[in-house]
């Protein structure tokens, strides 16, 4: 059987999406630690009584604000890495979509061939081939959808984390 150039096995598809999910989850967990740090910094800033003297109070406040800046910088860097993972998942989705489109074209060609054949045995073989391609299409569509869901969920969580960071810094 002739294989299309760049063909990918179902296991590879499944493993690739799993890897994207793991990478996104790992990065999300890292970001969560940074968000926690920012919230801790805010709590400390609110909890400090701070000396009423010019000698120390302002400087201590500045130290904590610098800690907040450092955490924000960490958050931006980690979010950038997460966006990179999301972009790769997006590429994966597009790849699944293109493959699905290509297979749909194959199905149409096979269907045309079935109509032109006279022998039932040959028709039957082509029908099986068409069903097999249709299964591939369903699989690819399914993984495109799974990829999209995983990416959108990760993006949603990241937006929530960003919102918490802004709240901790702004309130």
């Amino acid at each position: 059987m002739r294989r299309r150039q760049g063909a990918i096995s179902r296991t590879e598809v499944s493993d690739t999406l799993e890897q994207h999910r793991d990478d996104a989850q790992e990065k999300t967990d890292q970001i969560e630690e940074t968000v926690y740090d920012t919230e801790t910094e805010r709590q400390v800033l609110e909890g400090l009584e701070l000396s009423g003297t010019a000698e120390g109070g302002e400087q201590v406040e500045m130290d904590i604000e610098q800690a907040q800046d450092a955490s924000l910088s960490e958050f931006e860097a980690e979010s950038g890495e997460l966006e990179q993972i999301h972009a790769e998942t997006q590429e994966f989705q597009e790849d699944m979509h293109e493959r699905s489109d290509a297979s749909s074209a194959d199905v149409e060609r096979v269907a045309d061939g079935v109509n032109q054949l006279n022998r039932d045995s040959a028709k039957s073989q082509l029908e099986r081939a068409k069903d097999s391609i249709q299964e591939d299409i369903d699989f690819l569509d399914d993984y495109e959808r799974r990829g999209q869901e995983a990416r959108e969920e990760s993006e949603r969580i990241n937006e929530e984390q960003r919102s918490r960071i802004e709240s901790a810094r702004g309130s």
Binding site: E33, L48, G56, Q66, A70
Partner: protein, 207 residues
């Protein structure tokens, strides 16, 4: 002290130096006082003037002593704040996940610890100054001109005729005197406690 916000280490040190200088001036003035009998008669023709000068010095000392007591309360507030902030920072620093913010927390922690130590040293110094001045005021309590403080004529440098002597100590005491005596009593009573508290705080500071 005008307000807590203006309190600074240099301000407290300045007040202490001023009080110590005033105490020394009073001690010197009190040491130069000539003997007078209970009618106010003395071999020294300037006796009344010297007593008047000493009384002015005493009043200045007592006024500064009141300020030192107020200052002590404010310094203790600063110590309490630093102790609180230090415990909050130390506890939360260990909760941080990232090194960079933790480094800034460490800087803040070191800054507060330094202020904490400085305020404790200042409080102890302040307490010693108050006790020293209190002792000096107590020692010179009886060095007063018989019959009340001599009055100076305005802009002349000369004195009012002395009023009739009175045996009543109560009549000599002004409101400020009573207030200062009350503070001295309070200070003497609490000195024991303060000493113990200073030791406790020192122990905490060392930790």
């Amino acid at each position: 002290m005008d307000s807590e916000k203006t309190l600074g280490v240099s301000g407290v040190e300045g007040l202490m130096n001023k009080a110590v200088a005033a105490a020394k001036e009073f001690q010197r003035a009190a040491g130069e006082l000539p003997k007078v009998d209970k009618n106010g008669s003395s071999e020294c023709p300037f006796a009344e003037e010297l007593y008047a000068k000493a009384e002015k010095c005493r009043e200045k000392c007592q006024g500064l002593q009141v300020q030192l007591h107020e200052c002590l309360t404010l310094v203790q507030n600063e110590i309490d704040k630093c102790g609180h902030d230090l415990s909050v920072l130390s506890a939360q620093k260990d909760q941080l996940n990232r090194d960079r913010p933790r480094a800034h927390f460490s800087a803040a922690e070191a800054r507060i610890a330094s202020m904490y130590k400085k305020w404790i040293q200042l409080r102890d110094s302040l307490k010693r100054t108050i006790v020293d001045i209190d002792d000096m005021l107590q020692q010179t309590k009886d060095k007063r001109y018989p019959g009340g403080m001599p009055q100076e004529w305005p802009n002349t440098g000369r004195f009012h005729p002395r009023q009739a002597p009175s045996d009543s100590r109560e009549s000599e005491s002004t409101g400020a005197d009573k207030e200062i005596d009350r503070l001295f009593d309070m200070d003497r009573d609490s000195r024991k406690d303060n000493h113990k508290e200073a030791q406790d705080t020192d122990d905490n500071g060392k930790q």
